[in-house]
Subunit: 336 residues, 2 copies
């Protein structure tokens, strides 16, 4: 069982080394348009890559259902759906970067920095519409239901994020509902709907949904924690962004809840009122250290990893299940 | 036949006086969310009303198919679809106002002016996602196909609009492809898909699609021309907005194409380079007068009205067909 302690996406990525080029081809074809700015802008973001985690989850969901149903060939619907979830993800990234006024993503200039907010908003809308066109091609209206509902929940999570911004007295529940919407729901829908394309039974669909939710939460908690640990070089985004923008994440909530009156005043001033002075970011990290806030956030992520792994008991024992276990551990990896 | 010279939405609105409250109820229910800012912001825009032209077109399409097929009761799918097209329309309005940085719409402050761009972008996304959820409830995957494709074309039209902004040497074709995308496609899809909910035959579907396209073009051409004729009081938006933003519409194209070198230099400076001085807006209108640019634009709109009316020959002769003819004439009404 030593193998299942591996924290890596390698097994998952390798398993679909033959499928992903097909998905990438659909992605490229479907971001085409007579209006050249669209493929230009979309290509800048999508071609830059990223881990393609959501399409991989869709293919993994389909693959587990294939094992279950002894299907030999990946259904074409799984490819369309994989491209669709990547489009939805990238549509939200384009809009996020506009909202956050970000100038860097994945170590490159953002689309809004290069082409302006207007084009980023519209090309996001375009990708979202194209995602639905791709889903129509799966021919399965329940998949459309699943992803339409997920898309609504994504935006609810993001709007909620705005409403709790600059509020260091937010609760853990507030935070969880934000990250469930903005991240975990799409992971869940991607894996679940993928399984549907290969006629998975309901327990497998439900289990993969659970897996995706837990994986997404672990992933986002760690991503948020790393914002206080890394620098632009390793993250591909600016370290401390969340602090400077007043975006309330788990370490802040832990530190604030357990903090002294003076520590609370510090967060009220900096993250609450955006009155930030030199050295404040370093001081925030010192307060986190006193309260083991980062460590506790990462522990919570570990809990979700365990939930994710438990949810996989719905799946047949196979190589793909191991790949998903390793992917779950990867989501909550410690910085090296 | 004197009646068919009437230019009014009254007959259309009256015909659905009983149906629209049901549509409005679906609209209200589906903009609900646990995140209070969402119904607050969406409600500000949607409850403000507008003419609900797109839902009316959907109901009219269904109604014509009902006459054709002797169906007695409006299918529930037509109600869901009506709410869906209104959501798509309002999602684009929210994003448009962010893009144009508008502070007034329908005589009220815009959502972005009140709640900021971030929330407007996200609530637009939310409405778009909810539109697809509503369409799923029609149970007809071809309707989803139609509206997903229309949604992609809307954004293509809007991106194209950005790329021809500040270019007074744009062609009539450029302009037509912009307005076809940003306005006419949704009119077409609304009427066409409405007919599908009541099992219309293909010629009726195609005819209504043509009708919607032509109606939408007439409507947008007039709306753009009126921007040079009205003031904020009658339009519910600021007069001359297009001029000050360098948005190239038909009167500009006509005046530029037929203009003297000096007149062209005027548009190059003002709308091309955004170097606008006091009195320039009045001067633009004088140049338009010399070239009958507004009149020619309105004539072109009249041509589309005739196209729209011709397209209705696919429909059975009935009260609803007359209502749609009157609506088409209304789209190209002259300012009184």
């Amino acid at each position: 069982m030593a193998d299942t302690q591996i924290a890596s996406l390698d097994r998952l990525t390798t398993a679909f080394a033959k499928e992903m080029p097909e998905v990438n081809q659909i992605i490229l074809a479907r971001m085409g348009s007579d209006v050249p700015l669209i493929p230009q802008l979309a290509g800048h973001l999508i071609a830059a890559g990223g881990k393609r985690l959501r399409p991989l989850l869709t293919l993994a969901g389909a693959s587990l259902a294939m094992t279950q149903n002894e299907i030999e060939k990946m259904p074409a619907a799984a490819h369309y759906l994989s491209a669709a979830v990547e489009f939805i993800h990238n549509a939200t990234l384009l809009h996020d970067d506009v909202i956050d006024n970000s100038d860097q993503r994945r170590g490159k200039q953002t689309a809004n920095a290069l082409w302006g907010n207007e084009a980023s908003v519209l090309v996001g809308d375009f990708l979202f519409a194209r995602a639905f066109e791709l889903m129509v091609e799966t021919g399965d209206i329940q998949i459309l239901q699943l992803l339409a509902s997920a898309s609504a929940q994504i935006t609810e999570g993001e709007v909620k994020q705005i409403t709790v911004q600059n509020a260091p007295d937010s609760t853990i529940d507030d935070y969880l509902s934000v990250i469930t919407g903005k991240t975990a729901i799409l992971f869940a829908a991607a894996a679940h709907a993928g399984a549907r394309t290969a006629q998975a039974d309901q327990p497998l669909c439900d289990g993969l949904h659970e897996y995706g939710l837990a994986l997404g939460r672990a992933f986002q908690i760690c991503d948020d924690a790393l914002d206080y640990l890394s620098d632009a070089g390793t993250m591909g985004k600016n370290a401390g962004d969340d602090f400077y923008e007043g975006k309330i994440t788990l370490p802040v909530i832990f530190a604030y809840q357990g903090g002294s009156p003076e520590e609370r005043r510090f967060f009220d001033r900096t993250m609450g009122n955006s009155e930030i002075e030199d050295g404040d970011f370093e001081q925030a990290k010192q307060i986190f250290d006193r309260h083991h806030a980062i460590e506790r956030a990462l522990d919570m992520a570990d809990g979700y990893v365990e939930q994710a792994i438990t949810a996989l008991q719905c799946a047949p024992e196979c190589e793909m299940r191991i790949a998903l276990i390793e992917a779950a551990r990867y989501a909550a990896r410690r910085p090296s």
